[in-house]
């Protein structure tokens, strides 16, 4: 393969100290993710998906092993470079939406642009464009508390796209949504992936995600269980049904 590898992890482990016990949550994860693909990280609750999400996103440090984004070891980054990575390179989507409660939808979407040094007018214009993309331009002046869960998550998707990131990391993006709104969010993510070439990495145990994924990484008990490509997936899905 001569694809551009955008995320690579080598033997990543993560342990948490719980009193006198050490709980090893990730037990050596090595994976390569090619740019532009839609990846689902599947696994039961407690298998370590969120922990892996945090490692890949530069939100937490592995106990051992390395995470490379565009072949740069993120453990070597200083605070300013790490902030740049989080701001420009990666867009995050969370299960609990995590919009800033005191800000309007538009302000939430433009905040990462402001952090990135984008001027006010340009930020407003692009913010409105993104809200239009997720179908919420009419609600730009509403605060999160005035929006439904699905609408909040759509604002979060728009926010994740604010600085045209190369990667969107989503941790259970449909976890707090009902079936229909969950499907809308998945559809949006798929659209971003195919239209903009954004690499989507989504931790989930929502089987609706399987249909849109190019590749599924199955995690069980802190290890990679198996990695399936889209064509293999259809076959195994076919046999299940």
């Amino acid at each position: 393969m001569n694809e551009h590898i955008i995320v690579r992890t080598t033997n990543v482990t993560k342990s948490f100290q719980l009193g006198r016990h050490e709980l090893q949550v990730l037990k050596g994860i090595s994976l390569k993710i090619a740019a532009g693909r839609y990846i689902s990280i599947m696994g039961p609750s407690g298998s370590g998906k969120s922990t892996l999400f945090n490692m890949i996103g530069g939100l937490d440090k592995p106990t051992s092993g390395k995470v490379f984004i565009d072949e740069v070891d993120i453990a070597q980054l200083d605070a300013y470079e790490l902030a740049w990575l989080r701001c420009r390179k990666i867009g995050y989507i969370f299960q609990t939406f995590n919009l800033i409660p005191v800000m309007t939808a538009l302000e939430n979407v433009t905040l990462p642009m402001i952090f990135a040094g984008t001027g006010n007018d340009e930020a407003m214009e692009r913010g409105m464009e993104l809200l239009r993309l997720v179908g919420l331009d009419q609600r730009h002046s509403h605060r999160p508390s005035e929006l439904s869960g699905g609408q909040q998550q759509r604002v979060a998707v728009a926010r994740a796209l604010a600085n045209n990131p190369a990667i969107i990391l989503a941790d259970e993006p449909t976890g707090n949504l009902d079936l229909k709104t969950g499907e809308e969010i998945i559809g949006l993510l798929k659209q971003m992936s195919s239209e903009r070439g954004v690499t989507i990495i989504s931790a989930t145990h929502d089987f609706k995600m399987l249909n849109v994924s190019d590749e599924v990484i199955w995690i069980r008990d802190g290890r990679i269980d198996k990695i399936e490509q889209r064509d293999e997936l259809n076959i195994s899905m076919g046999t299940i049904e």
Partner: protein
């Protein structure tokens, strides 16, 4: 990897201002003790300034009023704070700082998720720190302004009651203005001191730590 540029100061001010405007009642709780402490500080000084003004006027009617009100004016040229007043003022300022620290710690812990999210969006530690300091500065200024207003009114009223209407003739305006200014400065300073530790704690937090907190 490229580096993120600093957030323009004006933008930080804007974000901080919006934040306290929306959280108006939270801000009120945080500043309540400050308003009281600044009002008390200002009140004590206003009363003393008015008494000093009367003393220095040399007007026998004024001097009699002072003696009647219980001032010991033998051989002094100005009426300062008594040891007891100094003690009370210091104590009230101390209680106020403790109150602010407490209120700010609560305010910060209510906002852990928000802080973690901001860090994920690219906020540096110093940006988080600056936002909290700016919010505290603005709250301090608004709270002190209110406190000074209360203190001035209460001081003048109290002087008028204990010394009679003569207290209102020829108020020492320059001295009162100076006191107001000083009280506002003290108030802002206390507000900043009170937020320092909570702001440092918030800024140092790793994004995952901040977001794991159940809210």
């Amino acid at each position: 990897m490229e580096r993120l540029a600093a957030l323009p100061f004006a933008k930080s001010v804007e974000i901080a201002y919006k934040s306290i405007r929306v959280r108006f009642f939270r801000s009120l709780v945080t500043t309540a003790s400050l308003v009281l402490a600044v009002a008390f500080l200002c009140y004590v000084q206003v009363v003393n300034h008015i008494a000093t003004g009367l003393l220095q006027s040399g007007d026998p009617v004024a001097l009699r009023a002072l003696v009647r009100a219980g001032y010991d004016i033998n051989g002094i040229t100005a009426i300062g704070e008594s040891a007891q007043q100094q003690w009370l003022v210091s104590l009230s300022l101390l209680v106020c700082v403790v109150g602010i620290i407490n209120a700010q710690l609560m305010a910060v812990s209510e906002r852990f998720r928000e802080i973690g999210t901001m860090k994920c969006l690219g906020a540096l530690d110093r940006v988080i720190m600056l936002l909290f300091l700016l919010e505290a500065g603005m709250q301090g200024f608004a709270g002190s302004l209110l406190g000074v207003l209360v203190g001035l009114l209460a001081g003048v009223a109290s002087a008028a009651i204990s010394l009679g209407t003569i207290a209102l003739s020829g108020l020492p305006l320059a001295a009162l203005a100076m006191t107001a200014l000083q009280s506002i400065l003290v108030g802002c300073l206390l507000s900043l001191i009170g937020v320092l530790y909570p702001a440092i704690a918030a800024a140092r937090m790793e994004p995952v730590e901040a977001m794991r907190v159940e809210q």
